[in-house]
């Protein structure tokens, strides 16, 4: 019996690595500490009723953002471990197997469990406020999306201490990711972690399209909508076309591994290149899914801090939508070397280059918005300014990569690594940081310390260039990705050491941000105006943080940048249009709100159970998990009491408390 348990746990837990053992102990202690704290302060009920069952888009957004910051920490530690290894490969800090696991989890976590939830967090908090709505179209589905993301991410992350991490690269090409190349459970954690959170992403895509098309305040025609909401629409349209491809691709890989099918195997007539095509038909649109909202954020910030209307609003809309269209026709540029022939490669090279046109349009729009504006430079604007040159260089190296014949040299080299980190950090990460700093007071009701934010900014930026510029050179010197060792006589070590130093500077920058948040919470400076940046769009017309129902009265919109125009009219002493006045002076009415529900949490937890069962091939657990999913779905279907009204008295009290400080 004892031997059985020993055998089981040596297979079940990852053993024999001091780094991971340390992590296991740390995770165990943290869990104990969390349970103890919650019990000691009697916070379990609070946690359940206020957070785990909430359907409020603002709280769901905050949960997304907290998770993504934790994931940024883990992905960042992965990155630094790799940099240490590459700076001194002779030391064998990480062996080949461990290194493979770390570059795999770094990629997956940063794209799917850091960038995506940070993006969804901003969608959730800001879009309904910008549209003048009281929630998203389907609040229950929204909570479901979050918990699917959460449990998917947990399933993926648990592989690090239980069973072993996946190690076949972030897109897991077969035959390496097939049963013959990866017999362990790591790859199964990969499949189910991503599959479960992917279902949540798909639902979010649908939810926000309906929200944006159906729930805008009266008068807000599409061409008067704030640019961030436009970028969310373009991103969500891309999501609903791209994510089903991911679902199928992972499902087919699962069938290969679980039932011995022959989709992507080398024997039995399978075709591994099929997988590579399919995964990039999702994967390429995916990078546009995460970058498009960042473009929207920059557009809001530039207009606010230049105190000017966004230059070229219509061309910006056109650029966003054309990028989401063209994103579906560039996938093969990830494997020009596959040997599809000159005509196929030429087609994909040209479509890739075409994307540079709308992107260039945007850059000029931002520059012209700033031209002759009354500029100020708080942290959100600094990130925006840092983004523009960084993204332009990243974009240009992308155009170099799109030249198919030249790509045979660049392919899988550090030149490529430097390129995509430059667009993903310089574009996506800078963009979401800018958005976090910009909307932070709206989310939490207090401002972040500017001075510490500037330290973080400079460390991030200087660290970024020191880390990634040498990698372009290394790529051209012949260094390829995904190996942990190289010989000293290759001459790569000096630049690798420089790059590692840059990586650690970004690590320090992250610590500054954590310090900034902790400092700002400790010396809390309440933001009482609700409009601390002198903003332009509807989210700045309500108190910070927004009350539960967002708008006590739904506003009527008459122009683009409606809140800004209204402030100008008031300053000039002009009257608002009669329908605007009527909406503002209408008597308060009870507000119809969705009820909290524990079903999204429970249903997603059952998905986790089913996924865990599939990973370990435990049929009983799969049955329990899937049965739980179906039962919770039916429970929802039979629930008719799903909403309630907030009475007028309560609205009056909330408004008086929030506005009292004016």
């Amino acid at each position: 019996m004892l031997d059985k348990i020993k055998d089981f746990s040596s297979e079940f837990f990852v053993t024999g690595d001091p780094l991971i053992l340390g992590a296991q102990v740390a995770i165990g202690l943290t869990l104990v500490a969390i349970v103890f704290t919650l019990t000691f302060f009697k916070k379990w009920r609070w946690l359940w009723t206020e957070w785990l069952t909430t359907v409020d888009h603002k709280r769901i957004g905050i949960m997304y953002i907290i998770c993504s910051i934790l994931m940024l920490f883990r992905g960042g530690v992965d990155a630094l471990l790799m940099r240490v290894q590459l700076a001194a490969p002779q030391l064998e800090f990480l062996n080949a197997e461990h290194y493979n696991q770390i570059f795999t989890t770094h990629g997956v976590i940063m794209i799917l469990f850091m960038a995506m939830p940070l993006m969804f967090g901003l969608f959730n908090i800001i879009v309904p406020l910008q549209l003048g709505a009281r929630d998203v179209a389907f609040p229950f589905l929204n909570a479901f999306s979050f918990w699917m993301f959460f449990f998917g991410a947990m399933l993926f992350n648990v592989s690090f201490v239980i069973g072993g991490s996946p190690d076949a690269g972030w897109l897991a090409y077969p035959p390496l990711s097939g049963l013959s190349g990866s017999p362990g459970v790591g790859q199964d954690f990969y499949i189910w972690g991503i599959q479960i959170s992917g279902i949540g992403s798909l639902a979010t895509g649908i939810n926000f399209i309906v929200t944006i098309l159906k729930m805008r305040a009266p008068g807000m025609s599409l061409m008067k909508m704030p640019m961030f909401s436009w970028s969310v629409l373009s991103s969500c349209v891309t999501i609903i076309f791209a994510f089903p491809i991911l679902t199928v691709t992972l499902f087919l890989l699962f069938l290969d591994r679980y039932l011995g099918a022959h989709f992507f195997t080398l024997d039995g007539g399978g075709n591994p290149m099929m997988y590579i095509n399919l995964i990039w038909m999702w994967g390429h649109p995916e990078v546009y899914i995460v970058i498009l909202p960042a473009f929207g954020i920059f557009s809001e910030i530039v207009a606010t801090f230049a105190k000017k209307k966004l230059f070229g609003y219509k061309s910006m809309v056109f650029a966003l939508m054309s990028i989401s269209f063209f994103s579906f026709f560039t996938w093969a540029h990830h494997f020009f070397t596959m040997g599809s022939g000159a005509d196929v490669n030429a087609f994909f090279a040209v479509t890739t280059m075409l994307i540079a046109i709308p992107t260039g349009v945007k850059v000029f729009n931002w520059l012209f918005t700033m031209f002759r504006g009354r500029l100020s430079f708080p942290t959100p604007m600094m990130w925006t300014l840092a983004f523009i040159p960084c993204f332009v260089v990243g974009g240009m190296t992308g155009v170099l990569l799109s030249v198919a014949p030249a790509d045979f040299q660049f392919h899988n080299s550090y030149f490529l690594i430097a390129h995509f980190h430059q667009v993903l950090i310089g574009g996506v990460v800078f963009g979401y940081f800018a958005g976090l700093y910009y909307w932070w007071p709206k989310m939490f009701g207090f401002k972040l310390h500017e001075g510490l934010g500037k330290w973080a900014f400079w460390f991030w930026n200087i660290g970024f260039y020191i880390c990634f510029m040498p990698q372009y050179a290394l790529g051209l010197m012949g260094m390829t990705r995904r190996f942990n060792e190289y010989n000293f006589d290759m001459g790569w070590q000096p630049l690798n050491v420089v790059s590692t130093v840059g990586g650690f500077l970004m690590g320090i920058a992250f610590l500054f941000q954590v310090w900034q948040i902790a400092h700002s919470i400790k010396f809390l400076k309440r933001e009482k105006t609700g409009d601390n940046w002198d903003g332009r769009t509807l989210e700045w017309s309500i108190p910070s943080p927004a009350p539960m129902y967002n708008f006590a009265r739904i506003p009527v919109v008459t122009s683009q940048d409606d809140w800004w125009e209204k402030k100008l009219r008031r300053a000039r002493g002009e009257a608002d249009a009669p329908e605007v006045v009527a909406a503002e002076q209408a008597p308060l009415e009870p507000i119809h709100m969705p009820r909290n529900s524990g079903i999204p949490f429970v249903m997603s937890a059952f998905w986790f159970v089913a996924g865990f069962g599939f990973v370990w091939d435990w049929t009983w657990m799969v049955v329990v998990g899937l049965a739980g999913v179906i039962v919770t779905m039916l429970a929802r279907s039979f629930t008719y009491n799903t909403d309630y009204y907030i009475p007028v008295d309560e609205i009056k009290r909330t408004e008086a408390a929030a506005r009292g400080a004016h």
Partner: protein, 233 residues
């Protein structure tokens, strides 16, 4: 402005409810915000907005499902000749059973249409009766499919036999799984109808499942054409 926005919503409102004219007027009065964000005393309109948004959301879900099946069809077409020296579909598949199940599924689409007509007439008994008939036809389709799969496995063609059979079972099986989930859902809906009758909420649910059912029928027509007619005959 509110009027202009409300007009865009008109087709959807009409799709879910017969009375397009009054619905649009109500939505215009409300401005563009739905989702239970209306005012007290307008409860009916509130639900109206919310139900129509759910139908729209379901159409978007169907788009994602089209992509899902599209990828499976593409996979099947790419791998259709990769039998790795094993049996081909033409050798093992028996068409009479397939043709029978095709007609059964097509008929079930027709009966679900009749159920909708009964619902619009306000006839709860007729609605439930025709939904039950639809579900029984769906169940017979699934029965025939399971029998076919068992026959094929018996003949030595499993999902692991070759890429062709992997793609075959996955495509046809995913459709079958959709129909099976539809059956569970339809049963749950019949119980709700029996308890609550025809309300705006149950009406929306019947509309949505009928969209789903017709969609699966269309997918089956493609399966029948590409997998069976072009692949077998």
């Amino acid at each position: 402005m509110a009027q202009a926005f409300a007009d865009k919503r008109k087709p959807i409102l009409e799709a879910s409810h017969g009375a397009g004219g009054t619905a649009t007027a109500a939505a215009a009065g409300h401005g563009g915000h739905g989702g239970g964000h209306g005012h007290a005393g307008h409860d009916g309109h509130d639900h109206h907005d919310q139900e129509s948004m759910k139908v729209f959301g379901f159409w978007l879900f169907l788009i994602t499902d089209v992509i899902l099946f599209g990828v499976l069809f593409a996979t099947f077409v790419v791998l259709r000749l990769n039998t790795a020296g094993g049996p081909t579909g033409g050798e093992l598949i028996e068409m009479p059973g397939i043709i029978a199940s095709t007609f059964i599924l097509l008929t079930s689409s027709f009966t679900s249409g009749i159920a909708l007509l009964e619902m619009n007439k306000g006839n709860k008994r007729g609605l439930i009766l025709w939904l039950v008939i639809t579900a029984l036809l769906g169940a017979s389709f699934i029965y025939l499919e399971v029998t076919e799969f068992m026959h094929l496995v018996h003949e030595g063609a499993t999902i692991g036999t070759s890429a062709y059979w992997s793609a075959f079972y996955t495509l046809v099986g995913t459709h079958g799984l959709h129909v099976s989930l539809g059956l569970v859902w339809m049963t749950a809906l019949i119980l709700q109808l029996a308890k609550r009758g025809i309300t705006p909420v149950t009406k929306r649910k019947v509309n949505i499942i009928s969209l789903y059912w017709h969609f699966l029928d269309v997918v089956w027509i493609f399966v029948f054409t590409i997998v069976y007619l072009m692949g077998v005959m």
